[in-house]
Amino acid sequence: MNNAAFLPVAFEVIQLVGALLVLLVAVVAGKQRKFWAPIAGVAFLASAAAGLFQWIEVAETGGGFFFSTPDLRIMRSPMVVMDGFSAFAAILLGLVGFVALLGSWDLVKVLGGRAAEFVALTLLAVAGLHMMTMTPNLVVIFIGLETASISFYVLAGFIRQSRESDESALKYFLLGSLASAMFLYGVALAFGATGSLTIYGANSIRDFFSLHIITEPGILLAGLALMLVGLFFKVSAAPFHQWAPDVYQGAPSGAVGLMAAGVKVAGFAALTRIFVGGFISQIDTWAPIVAVVAALSMVVGTTMALVQKDLKRLLAYSGVAHAGYLLATLVGGMEGVPPMWFYVSTYAFMIIGAFTVVSVVRGPTSSDAPIDAFKGLANRSPEMGWLLAIIMFGMSGMPFFAGFVGKVFAFVVAGEAGYLWLVVVGTLTTVIGFAFYLRVVSTIFASDDDGDDIEPSMSARFAVIISAVVTLFFGIVPWPLLDVVRDALPL
């Protein structure tokens, strides 16, 4: 394979160049917003375009491995893989980053001088997120994870004057580091058990399992469990979710969308890459654990969301439930990958849209967002009210909204894998979930509005419209996306 190839790492390179340019321009041209917008926007769209080129290349050549290191025996493995999986992740993350930046542009405007750092960190975070999806090497996955996580710690605490924001950042940092450490320890133990850090190529984990049977799997089990826990934490699956509501609530409303969407996308991509790609032969070992955590996430997320009075916390807990539905696709092995992509890509846009509306209504630097503040939103701003209602219906899993298609396919995959009890838990929690989503919708359409009219900015308006269009379009006509994700498989 070509070691000098640019295309497989184009996404990361473009993002990093974009981030550096933003910082450079901030120094050279002064703190002028008008330069950052096009640079960051172009970087995200160019990354998505790079993903598209990767997709075409993979469709023609079947993809492959890059940047192998043949000299060191242990490390004799590719560092980068380009397949349908990573290419789709690139397209998705590029677009998600773009829409999220649109949604947080109000915050950028408010931040004034420090906004350059904000934009640069956003680009860096997304670069890290994609890195988690494009490498077969467990250590590189960890590096990507940390690149993204550290950026997000900073983003969460970006409003330094705000106690809530500080608290949010510190909490995220402490618990997040613990999770990262667990993941890394898991990688080390898995290396100890298999003698490999890589999923593909020579001396890979897959090769190891095709040639060996582990009779005393203690270390391997511990490694798998720790890796799972680390990633469960990142995607906020119960019982590793406690940070999410506090962090989401405390972080500036304008910045939460990307955190919530990006981490879900990359977290589930990494889970799939490692467990479906690498440890597929051990599926009987890890799938039951995943199924239990999935069920727990659905139940805990849904029941806790029922009693929330704050929309950001509600969305955080609903995110826990969504992590559960997404985990249900994981137990299906390779069959679950296309549904996982469908679910996570539509969810990413929905959650960005939802947080953008929060940012519009409560202000981009705000922390709390009581549901009562959204009373009569459909009268105060018909556009925002209706779009948020569409997004809520989408998340709740109503038919003809994208969430429904994603959920049903997740259930079918889980049922096919023999986890019918998980299907029952999933459908029941979906229904209970209607209660809190509909409570938000009722609040939006309440006629006794006591707030002022709201005039959303153009960028926020675009972000929310894109989210709602994705929700509605792929709910009514899911086949185009389903056709695409069918090819978005790991090698």
Binding site: P399, F400, V412, G415, T427, R439
Partner: protein, 523 residues
Amino acid sequence: MPVLSILIALPVIGAIVVALLPTRRQELVYPVALAMSIPPLAVALYMLWNFVPRDASFQFAESVVLVESFGISWSLAVDGISLFMVVLTALLFPISIAASRSITDRVKTYMVLMLILETGVLGVFLSLDLFVFFAFFEVVLIPMYMLISMWGSENRAYASLKFVLFTAVGSAFLLASIVALGVMTGSQMGTFANFDFRNMLQADLSSTAQLALFAGFGIAFAIKVPLFPFHTWLPDAHTEAPTAGSVILAGVLLKMGTYGFLRFNLTLFPEAAVDLAVPLAVLGVIGIVYGAAVAIVQPDIKRLVAYSSVSHMGFVVLGTFALTTQGLSGSVVTMISHGLTTSALFLLIGMIYERTHTRKIADYGGLAKVMPVYAGIFLFSAFASAGLPGLSGFIGEFTILIGSYLTLPVLTIIAAFGVILAAIYLLWAYERVFTGPVTNPKLEGLKDLGFRELAILVPLIVLIIGIGVYPKPVFDRIDSSVGIILDRIEATTDFEVPEYGTPDGVVELHYDAEGDHEDGGDH
């Protein structure tokens, strides 16, 4: 020509047209929405005209594969059972929209929701793919929820949420069962999953699987019907909904439940259906008596009619689980008849409510003197609902009783009291509202029904009389589809569908005045 796809698409197109009307021209919304609800009715009538009677196969069938790997397809068709549900739906929507003249607040949203609701309901009755069926089954929830919660009366928030949660809990079981059945069907066909109804019929299910899936489907439909003890959402939702919402709820939404029992529970799980027939019929009879008894003491006239629905739908369930030709055919006819009579009653109550803004029976008295035409139509509708011979309610419920007597004689005798109770609660309500002196001064000087209101009611009256006097064309189309269901039950279980001696015997013993129904279901 994909008639059924066009039929499903027409209301959506109408909704888009209404949504695109300029905001400044609010006065256009009502006539445009009304006009947009007419083409579906025309298509439905075209279907009714071209439907081949005495043919049990699915007609106007069309099928396009949507997701190959999951075995999901856009399969639509009608048979004798769904045909009338579709026509009823297509008829009641223009009527409800026409009756929504008094809606002035956010009228555009209202009309858009009504038209989307129509698409959802039509989709439920036409889909043969269970995935698509479920999608439509659920999509009905959103517009109905919003209609109740945005345009309902005082207690609307509570009623609408209760409606959604009850229905959605049922849907959860339905979805889980559909997924399980789809996966089982698929694995037996050697594919990942398959959701086509006709393929599911071929699936070989164990007794346990049949029972579990029957329960899963059954809970969803029992809540929708609603079957006692799942009925508690109904009085609230019906009472709080705006008039058109009540009409649609009672007229077609409840039928989604009984239709589901007929189409899916009896056909897909015949073994479980035979095993569980008696308990379900008992619940139906409890519903008949309980609904009627509670209706008698209601102080709110709308709530009274709501409870009468529980009673009437109990008859439908009794007929369905009698598992005889007459029972099933009678159920379908009662579904039609209940859709017509209850809609008429809700429309009438809506019309008087617009004038007086009260639904309390105690606030009325002597109304017949003030509004004689109104009183006459109300009495007519009450008689139709109570099952006066010569009107549609009689045909349906009497056929059910004939059918269920074959298999469930004791329950049938108890159920027959429901007919008497219906006469009591309706006529007693009539007496209190319409007869005697005018006690409430506010009632004096009320205008009788206008031309628009009469035009809304006349089609219902004509159909109630038409089916009551000459039900043969209806039975001709229902009987063979019902026969297929029973044939399948006989073929797959050791249950034998009992028959009354010779077909001629049916004529002479049980049909007299309007005895056009000679061959009573023995095609």
